[in-house]
């Protein structure tokens, strides 16, 4: 597989001023047989990048490629084979990422018939995606998230967990382990006379991991809520122009953590699980735990539930949350993640659009914005890099 011959080097290019918290930025990216791209080579700096073009031209695919350079399954949660260009067997995304004072070469992709995503950092294959988190991070807002507040609680939990695992490396493992243990309990309860010691062992594990998951979510929600409420942060970050949202977790375990220490919550959850065995075995589910929680979002200005707000207002609230998360990560990790905003601008009126552009430029994050109408991005002329995407070909404007 082709790998960029890039060495870690100091970033001494002119025109890049030192930022409060240094932004992560794609400097070069190369796609091979990825989605609709046969081959693409692009060079960018840390200013915003505008991708315009018709639907289906390949704008979102480019954002997806960037999202795959961070841990996780990317903006579409696609399988490896879905990412392969029609007619191809392998794909690769190779990038040079500026991170802190270093340039890091990363390749990710698929070898033919392997179901494991290949990841190479500086040409060395790594076993764990989480190693990417040391120098790469991305956060995003896509049209698929537009209906997040109206969607199922599971979709909101997934959204929340993605935010948590960006700042808490152990979260993905805890969630995977918790979900497997949930399946174990359901299967065991299906047996005619399940071994009570076995059930108890499983419930102890569920309580351990479950309370840890709930505590990590709670910590994130409180921190985000602080940023959204305009709590002073370490650096003099610009104020977000978007309506502040108030976030709250709703669920049995979340209420428990509100009123008691984690150890007691764990013991209580073990008891609840034991008491619910009969009901759970009839329903084929598990009635207590963080998989029953929900994220509630309230428009802080009007005090209304997000679900009761107009779709435009919902979008603004969501954008506010995503931008707050980027700032939180900058505070926590000293690095601003790359921000991917897919088809976001079209939903904003001109005033909000200009506010967003001003904010992004002031924040200094490398932001990738897509849209069909180039005139929508006119205020960014001179302050951003413009590309027109047509049939998987990029033309720099």
């Amino acid at each position: 597989m082709a790998t960029f011959a890039v060495n870690r080097a100091d970033l001494t290019q002119p025109g890049i001023q030192a930022n409060r918290s240094s932004p992560i930025a794609i400097r070069q990216m190369r796609l091979r047989d990825f989605r609709n791209y046969r081959r693409l080579d692009i060079e960018t700096d840390s200013r915003p990048i505008i991708l315009t073009g018709d639907n289906g031209a390949g704008k979102t695919n480019l954002l997806e490629a960037i999202s795959l350079l961070a841990p996780g399954r990317g903006i579409r949660r696609a399988s490896l084979s879905e990412l392969t260009r029609e007619g191809g067997h392998t794909w690769a995304v190779t990038a040079t990422i500026a991170s802190g004072k270093e340039l890091v070469g990363v390749t990710t992709g698929r070898r033919s018939d392997s179901e494991r995503r290949l990841i190479e950092i500086e040409g060395v294959a790594t076993r764990s995606q989480s190693e990417l988190a040391a120098f790469m991070g991305a956060t995003w807002l896509t049209p698929a998230q537009d209906r997040l507040f109206m969607d199922s609680p599971a979709a909101r939990r997934r959204f929340l967990d993605r935010l948590v695992l960006a700042i808490d490396n152990g979260h993905a493992r805890r969630v995977a382990s918790y979900e497997r243990t949930l399946r174990e309990r359901v299967l065991l309860l299906r047996q005619a006379r399940p071994d009570p010691h076995w059930l108890r062992a499983i419930e102890q594990r569920l309580a351990e991991e479950g309370i840890a998951i709930a505590a990590a979510r709670r910590e994130l929600v409180q921190a985000l809520d602080g940023v959204l409420a305009g709590a002073p942060s370490g650096d003099s970050a610009p104020m977000s122009p978007f309506p502040a949202a108030h976030l709250a977790l709703e669920g049995g375990v979340d209420a428990m953590l509100e009123s008691m220490p984690a150890v007691r919550a764990e013991a209580l959850l073990i008891e609840q699980l034991a008491d619910a065995r009969q009901a759970d075995s009839l329903q084929g589910g598990t009635s207590h735990g963080p998989h029953r929680s929900d994220l509630r979002v309230i428009d802080a200005e009007s005090g209304r539930e997000a679900t009761a707000c107009s779709t435009g207002r919902q979008k603004s609230l969501l954008l506010g949350i995503v931008l707050a998360e980027a700032r939180l990560r900058a505070d926590r990790q000293g690095q601003l993640p790359i921000i991917l905003l897919d088809e976001v601008v079209a939903h904003l009126d001109e005033r909000r659009r200009i506010q967003l552009f001003d904010y992004l430029v002031a924040l200094g994050a490398q932001t990738w914005l897509t849209g069909t109408d180039e005139p929508n991005f006119a205020p960014l002329k001179g302050a951003a890099q413009f590309f027109h995407v047509q049939d998987a070909v990029l033309i720099r404007r």
Partner: protein, 199 residues
């Protein structure tokens, strides 16, 4: 490429851990070329191992005597039992030379998804041993995988009413790691740093 006999042999060898299709073909070639010095002795050694080596009825270790050499030894601390998943883990502990007690090899991990239950892991046999032999300490040397941890909780849970200390290996055992992949120094440290398990 070749005859049915050679293909069959290569297919079987490729099922061995660590051998892929290419290396198994190379192994077949080596065996056939060096028939007298390698091929035939290997067949005899395999035959002999199949005839004599059995799983120890007490601990699950593999040996030509039953109970195995470890279970039969009078020089070992008979009041401590280390519980591990596979015979490889036992071998790894023995290589580290820092453990002098007895073993119980589960031969797997508790998993409803994979349909492995307590009866498949000889848990009742372990319980009977602990009670009959006045065992004072049980060390759970199970992987940090989901199933490994559930198994550890299960055994601890079963031992809860007995006058026996339950401990687990200290830190240094990586998540999802299995003992066999740890170097001896790490194993010794993990054994020294074992922690009492309280439920």
């Amino acid at each position: 490429m070749s005859t049915a006999e050679i293909d069959q042999l290569a297919r079987l060898l490729a099922k061995l851990p660590g051998l892929g299709a290419r290396s198994s073909r190379r192994a077949v070639l080596a065996l056939l070329k060096r028939r007298e010095t390698l091929g035939e002795p290997l067949v005899r050694a395999l035959r002999e191992a199949f005839d004599k080596v059995r799983a120890c009825g007490v601990c699950g270790n593999l040996d030509s005597i039953d109970p195995c050499g470890i279970c039969a030894s009078q020089r070992r601390d008979r009041q401590t039992i280390l519980v591990c998943e596979e015979v490889e883990d036992l071998w790894a502990m023995e290589r580290a030379q820092s453990y002098g007690g007895l073993y119980h090899v589960l031969g797997g991990k508790l998993s409803a998804i994979d349909a492995v239950g307590p009866e498949d892991l000889g848990i009742d046999r372990l319980m009977a041993r602990i009670q009959a032999d006045d065992v004072k300490e049980v060390i759970l040397a199970l992987g940090a995988t989901v199933d490994g941890q559930t198994t550890a909780h299960y055994i601890a849970e079963r031992l809860a009413g007995l006058a026996v200390n339950v401990s687990r290996l200290g830190h240094g055992v990586p998540v999802g790691g299995e003992l066999n992949y740890l170097d001896e120094g790490t194993l010794q440290a993990a054994l020294r740093a074992r922690q009492k398990l309280t439920l």
